[in-house]
Every structure is written in structure tokens, then in C-alpha cells.
């Protein structure tokens, strides 16, 4: 009798395992399928694409690449250059200054310390679109449209990154370390730049990636601020593809442009996926 129970339990476990793996494989397939299709289609000629789906690549990858790269109306090399400038500057500024702000609040005792911390937490959830109206108005008033720095300088004040850095400092930086450095005569900035920043490297790396990806993909504000062809970023160009008369388009080129738009982030993800996934949880759930 007991043996039978064990056996049926084992069978049940086996069946549920098979079911679970089937679900997982299906979902993984769903996630990969669209990107696989994008890659395949970017290697096919317009005529080949008119024949429908296939899982075999066509031979037009390099030709599509060159067509997309030298396209007359969508200047993707310039777009990628602009996107890189904005994304890299945002990543550097947001991590350095958020670490600095977090360090300031964590290490020093000053009157407004608690107020500052709570204030930053409170503004964390305000969507950026709420300041957009005033921001756009000011940008047009002071002739700041089509200036890339307008897109990355505001990232110096990033409440979410601050919060992450603060938590990281709480977990890793003993205050005695700062005291000890002072005894050796280090100045406050030197302590931050030469002792604290190296300790914060893992946190900075994670936030740099998220910040890079965030601004690389950002569409709303740039689309309202950039309208001259030589300042547009990649998402604006992709949206432009949609408003063009697509039936006249070489679709091979369109798929290639989409592939170019997502490729930098994909490469980063393939290399750093482990630490990125770790970073997803460490910042948010602990709150």
C-alpha cells in the first residue's frame, strides 16, 4: 500500500515536471522567436520578404546593412552616435552624482539629513512626464531644443539611483573606515573619490547598465526636444519608420534598422546578463 502511494506520488511529480518544463520552453520560445525573426528578416531581400515566413536566413545581410547605413532619409550612424553620447554621459553622471549624494546623506550628520533622505524617497515615484510640460516650455523659451546635453544633465538628480546607492553604502561601508581615512589626513573629496568609489564599484556598474539602457531606449522626451536631423536619437528614427509610407520601403532595410537599434543593448545583455538580473532585485524589493 505504502509503496503504491510513493509510486503514484513519483508519477505525479514526473508529470508536473514535464508540464513545467513545457511551459518554460514555450515562454522562452515566445521571447526569442520575435528577435530571431528580426535577425532572419534583416538578412533577406525585399523580394524574399514578400514570400512570407522562413526560418532560414537569406543572403542579403551585408547588402541590407550597407543600405541601412547609407540611407538617405534615416541617418542611423548619426542617430547611434547621438544615442551613445546621451546614454554614456547619463550613465556616468547619474552613477557618480547619485553615489556622491548618497554618501553625503549617509556619512555626514547635518540638520536636514533625515528630511533630505525622505524628500528624495518621496519624489522617487513622480513620473518624469509631470515635469515635461514646464521642461519643454523652458527648452523652447531658452533655445535649448536640439541640444544633447539637455537630455543627460538632468540625470545628475536621479532619486531611484540615489536610493540604490544609499542601500549599498548602508550594507558595505563602515563609518569607521571614513574616520580612519581622516586620521591619515585625507580630504573629504579624496576619501570619497579614492576610497568610497572603489568600494561602490559593483553598485555603480549595475546602475550604469540600467541607466545606459534606459536612455538608449528613451523616446518620449527626446522626441519632443530633438527635431533637427543631425541631433535625432535612435528611437526617434525608429518611430519615423512607422510614419513613413512603409509599402514603398525596402523591408529588408527596415528590419536591419530595427536590429541596429537594439543591438548595443543586446550585446551588453549577453555579456552581463547575470549581474543585470541580480541588479533587478537588489534595488527594488528590499525597500
Amino acid at each position: 500500500m505504502k509503496k503504491d502511494v510513493n509510486k503514484s506520488a513519483e508519477l505525479k511529480l514526473l508529470i508536473s515536471r514535464i508540464l513545467v518544463y513545457a511551459i518554460l520552453v514555450f515562454l522562452a520560445f515566445l521571447c526569442l522567436f520575435f528577435f530571431y525573426l528580426m535577425i532572419i528578416n534583416s538578412s533577406r531581400s525585399n523580394a524574399q520578404l514578400k514570400t512570407g515566413f522562413t526560418i532560414i536566413p537569406g543572403g542579403n545581410f551585408m547588402k541590407n546593412f550597407s543600405n541601412a547605413w547609407h540611407d538617405g532619409s534615416i541617418n542611423i550612424p548619426t542617430g547611434m552616435k547621438n544615442s551613445f553620447i546621451v546614454a554614456i554621459c547619463s550613465a556616468l553622471l547619474t552613477t557618480y552624482f547619485s553615489a556622491m549624494t548618497a554618501y553625503g546623506v549617509y556619512v555626514y550628520n547635518f540638520k536636514l539629513k533625515n528630511f533630505v533622505h525622505i524628500f528624495i524617497l518621496a519624489i522617487m515615484m513622480i513620473p518624469s512626464q509631470v515635469s515635461a510640460v514646464g521642461f519643454i516650455q523652458l527648452a523652447f523659451k531658452y533655445n535649448l531644443t536640439n541640444k544633447l546635453w539637455v537630455l543627460f544633465v538632468p540625470s545628475i538628480a536621479a532619486p531611484v539611483v540615489y536610493f540604490y546607492m544609499y542601500q549599498y553604502l548602508q550594507a558595505t561601508l563602515p563609518l569607521e573606515m571614513v574616520e580612519a581615512a581622516r586620521i591619515y589626513g585625507s580630504s573629504e573629496f579624496k576619501i570619497f573619490n579614492q576610497i568610497v568609489l572603489p568600494i561602490m564599484k559593483p553598485a555603480i556598474a549595475v546602475q550604469m547598465i540600467f541607466s545606459f539602457v534606459g536612455s538608449w531606449n528613451n523616446y518620449f522626451m527626446p522626441s519632443l526636444l530633438l527635431n533637427s536631423a543631425d541631433k535625432k536619437t535612435v528611437p526617434i528614427m525608429i518611430a519615423q519608420l512607422r510614419s513613413a509610407d512603409y509599402s514603398k520601403f525596402d523591408m529588408g532595410k527596415v528590419y536591419m534598422l530595427m536590429l541596429m537599434a537594439i543591438l548595443p543593448v543586446m550585446v551588453i545583455y549577453i555579456i552581463l546578463s547575470k549581474s543585470i538580473i541580480k541588479g533587478v532585485t537588489s534595488g527594488s524589493v528590499k525597500g
Binding site: 511551459i23 552624482f97 553625503g104 555626514y108 515615484m125 513622480i126 515635469s131 510640460v133 518611430a239 543586446m266
Partner: protein
């Protein structure tokens, strides 16, 4: 200054100015690029201020007129703000429902010691990936695949499943489903990882003792996992909702900004975007932003409450 540093009591006082120096860049930039624009947004909401062709109308103080306009019937016979609020909520729900159901299931699968799933890192890596993809490119890809001349229609027609190409982008049901599907694909991996971390933070001993007591997995789920996961679950749900309110890129690119058909997929931020486009209607855009702020503030309030209860 240097001399007093040796005394412990005055030490903290002498260093306190460094605190202000370190936080200064944040607050200077925040004031100029976020806080002042926010005040200006609120200020604008009380003025008639827009562009009509090449002439600029206003700014003229109109009190609460913009708010009244926001909540009144338009020429098509509906209240735009209610319609777009409804659209935004509905588009969020049809993505979030499968997103949270699947994510909850996957989180339970991954954390189950009984199932002992292999290759977790691989599955997590794959399902999280769509979250990092440029939303506008993802949306453009769906457009290319589902357009009248796209490969999906070719497959349907050539295989005989449809007599003529289906106008996926011309029907409410299909447009909304595509948006829901994209939002689901982009976010279920993220939610899975967050819920998983939540389950893992529950004391393992509780599961152990329940198992020894002979509880079924359903009992464990409803009596241990879910109640203890609740704060994190609500946190993830509300932040997803706040993200939902900001939904823009996917429907904007898929429908080319028109919310086709008949504005049934126009979201609140698309509506805001229309005001900020050529018409530069700072007055109406301001009123709409103030409303968005209050909605988000209420939701954030719930988040903070749940976190603090924990």
C-alpha cells in the same frame, strides 16, 4: 577649524557642511531641471496658452477653465480624459493579468525544491530579455509583422486560414491585443524575478514545518506563501500600475500616434504628447499633468504604506 576636530563633540558639527556640499549638485540640478519645470507645469494649468498656426495665444489667466475643459464633452461626443483613462487602464490590465499570473506561477516553479528546476539561469536570462529591448523598436517590429502586407497575413492567406489579409491595425480588438501581448512579453520576466526574490526572502523553516505537517502545496501557497508575499506583491503590482499610467512608446509607435481605430488605443501620455506637439498647448497639458501627478501620488502612497507595514 582644524583644532576643534580633535574634540569628538564638535567634530560632527565641523563636518556637517560637507554633507551639504555633497548633496548640492543633486539639489541644484533637481531644482533647475525638475522642480522648477514642475511648478511651471502647475502654473501653466491655470492659463490659456497655446499655438494656433504661427500665432501664440495667451498666456492669459483663466482659472480652472483648463480643468473644466479636460472633463467636458468634446465634439465627438465623449469626454476625452475619461476615454483615455479607461483605455490606459484597460491596456494595462490585459497585459498585467497574464503578466502576474504567469510570473506568479514561474516564481513558484523556480523556488520549488520539490520540482527542482534545472537551467534556471538560462530561463531567467531569456524571459527577462524583452524588458531591455527598445519599446519603440519592439512595437515597430510588431507593426511590420502584422501589417496588411506583413508576413503574418501572408501566412494566413497562403495557408487558407484567411481569405484576404486581416486588418490587424484597423480593429480595436486586435490593436489592443497586440499592445497587451507586447506589454506582457516585455514585463513578465521582470515580475517573475521580483516575485521570486520575494518568495526566497520567506523563512525556509516555515515551508519545512508545513511539509512535515503534511500540508498540500495548495495549502502552503494560500496559508504561507501568499500572506507573507503580500507586501512585495502589492509593491510590484502598484509599481507596474504606475508604469502602466506612463504607457506611451508601444501604442504610440504601433498606431503612429493616432490611437487607431477611433482613439480606442490612445493612452493618457499619448494625449499629453498631442498637447505638446505642434499646438504647444501648455495650458491643457499642464492641467493633464497635474491630474497625472495626483493619480501617481495616490498609488505611491499605497506603495509606501505597504513597505512600512512590512
Amino acid at each position: 577649524m582644524q583644532k576643534t576636530e580633535k574634540l569628538p563633540k564638535t567634530k560632527s558639527i565641523s563636518y556637517s557642511r560637507w554633507g551639504y556640499i555633497f548633496i548640492a549638485p543633486f539639489f541644484i540640478i533637481y531644482t533647475i531641471f525638475t522642480f522648477y519645470p514642475q511648478l511651471l507645469t502647475v502654473y501653466n494649468s491655470f492659463f490659456e496658452y497655446y499655438r494656433d498656426g504661427l500665432t501664440i495665444i495667451g498666456p492669459r489667466f483663466v482659472g480652472l477653465q483648463n480643468y473644466k475643459t479636460l472633463f467636458s464633452l468634446n465634439t465627438s461626443g465623449y469626454v476625452p480624459i475619461f476615454k483615455f483613462m479607461g483605455n490606459t487602464l484597460w491596456l494595462w490590465i490585459i497585459g498585467a493579468l497574464p503578466q502576474f499570473t504567469i510570473a506568479m506561477l514561474l516564481a513558484l516553479f523556480f523556488t520549488s525544491t520539490r520540482l527542482d528546476i534545472k537551467g534556471q539561469q538560462f530561463f531567467k536570462t531569456v524571459i527577462y530579455m524583452p524588458n531591455l529591448i527598445m519599446a519603440s523598436a519592439f512595437s515597430m517590429l510588431f507593426f511590420a509583422l502584422f501589417s496588411q502586407v506583413g508576413p503574418v497575413n501572408q501566412l494566413l492567406v497562403s495557408s487558407g486560414m484567411a481569405l484576404k489579409p486581416i486588418n490587424f491595425l484597423g480593429m480595436r480588438v486586435t490593436v489592443q491585443s497586440l499592445i497587451g501581448l507586447m506589454n506582457f512579453l516585455m514585463w513578465f520576466g521582470n515580475t517573475t524575478i521580483l516575485l521570486m526574490a520575494g518568495i526566497q526572502s520567506i523563512d525556509e523553516a516555515l515551508f519545512e514545518s508545513a511539509r512535515l505537517d503534511g500540508s498540500t502545496s495548495t495549502q502552503v501557497f494560500f496559508n504561507i506563501t501568499m500572506p507573507l508575499l503580500m507586501p512585495i506583491f502589492i509593491y510590484v503590482l502598484i509599481t507596474s500600475m504606475i508604469g502602466g499610467i506612463q504607457m506611451f512608446d508601444v501604442p504610440q509607435v504601433l498606431t503612429n500616434g493616432h490611437g487607431i481605430p477611433n482613439n480606442t488605443s490612445t493612452t493618457l501620455i499619448m494625449y499629453l504628447n498631442n498637447f505638446l506637439g505642434i499646438s504647444k498647448n501648455y495650458g491643457m497639458a499642464g492641467a493633464l499633468s497635474v491630474l497625472l501627478f495626483f493619480i501617481t501620488a495616490v498609488l505611491s502612497g499605497i506603495v509606501f504604506k505597504t513597505i512600512n507595514r512590512k
